[in-house]
Symmetry: C2
Amino acid sequence: MLSKNTIKLIASLSQKKFRTQHQLFIVEGVKGIQEFLDSSFELYQLFATEANFSAETILISEKELQKISNLKSPNTALAIFKIPKQKTAEANGLILVLDEIRDPGNLGTIIRLCDWFGVKTLVCSEGTVDCYNPKVVQATMGSLARVHISYTNLSNYLKTANSAVFGTFMEGNNIYTEELPKEGIIVMGNEANGISLEVEQLIHKKLSIPRFGNLQTTESLNVATAAAVVLSAFRRGF
Amino acid sequence: MLSKNTIKLIASLSQKKFRTQHQLFIVEGVKGIQEFLDSSFELYQLFATEANFSAETILISEKELQKISNLKSPNTALAIFKIPKQKTAEANGLILVLDEIRDPGNLGTIIRLCDWFGVKTLVCSEGTVDCYNPKVVQATMGSLARVHISYTNLSNYLKTANSAVFGTFMEGNNIYTEELPKEGIIVMGNEANGISLEVEQLIHKKLSIPRFGNLQTTESLNVATAAAVVLSAFRRGF
């Protein structure tokens, strides 16, 4: 049985305000939950229609799950995990920096890309969508458990960075022919406005993804697919 | 003023059955509509709250637009365009083939990638989501007007193809080191199941995108970001 308070708590966690207040977030689906259980994240409560997990499980009915789920077709389990304390971003390796990414699906896809391309550190501007937003968690498919994400003032972060800072722009050195290092910081900009002027001034090398199609249109690549191309270009030589 | 019949027609076009019956589809937003007006697509009717277009416009109120729009925050215009007759797929150039892509957002993103990477021909299996689905049209950001899309039986299509057929798999030649041709056919598979067995048998060369992250997980790349990496790899040398 679910108490009224539990139902209220879970519903509240779809809002950032309450996630911050309680320092908790929601993961849905057996596969995703298992990936968080296998990681360093700490479980708060686990609800499921079947006892499939090694962790302590509160058994609920399908009807109860439907009531607390954010999904149209709920899976068989929903878990509440604790938001880990934010650590200082690592200074080494390939680091991705996001300047005001607003769309939860884009952030989720980018976290998944980081996991694939071995980018362990993702640094987000304070205005970037919250990575514990349920839509982001869902889109990461468990990768969120393996990528270290921090939110900070990008100007301060980039000013004190030791590595070369790269950014993608409409004009810049061709990413396919440029020699790219194994370590460095790559900045991706906002969906509509790209990299902000303040951050642009802190970029050491401007890169661009050549366009092969119709050159008349002003259309750009979606930020998540652009991140796929950029990370792929940085990794291909190693 | 909008007639009841017009409102009914527009509502019906969110379903494939009625798009096929009427051979019409919906485009929303000034920018997208302008790109279709500038293309070879034929306008059927155009509704807008302001007279912004060179084409004949039926002026409607914001309230009326809200009633016919599929969007939560409707733009200022909605247009009905005619679905063009399906042409035979071109045999030359770089061709992308989709095997049962189900998610409208993924198809929209892939059409946008084709536009960017100069892929003029996209061949879809009959079970791939309809490219005139409003969510696909919205996600293409106008690219749909510039990429030639056809739906066909993939086995028949690939059996008679003149070019080399490539596909991405978990196991295959490293896409970063493989020498890739300027022309050819690239197959991308379904979100959950990848390339079907029937289609796999018609692939000449298996490629794979190396993973740099945690090798224990079974997680794969999203099909749209995988398409970005693959198209980028095929284009980087040219």
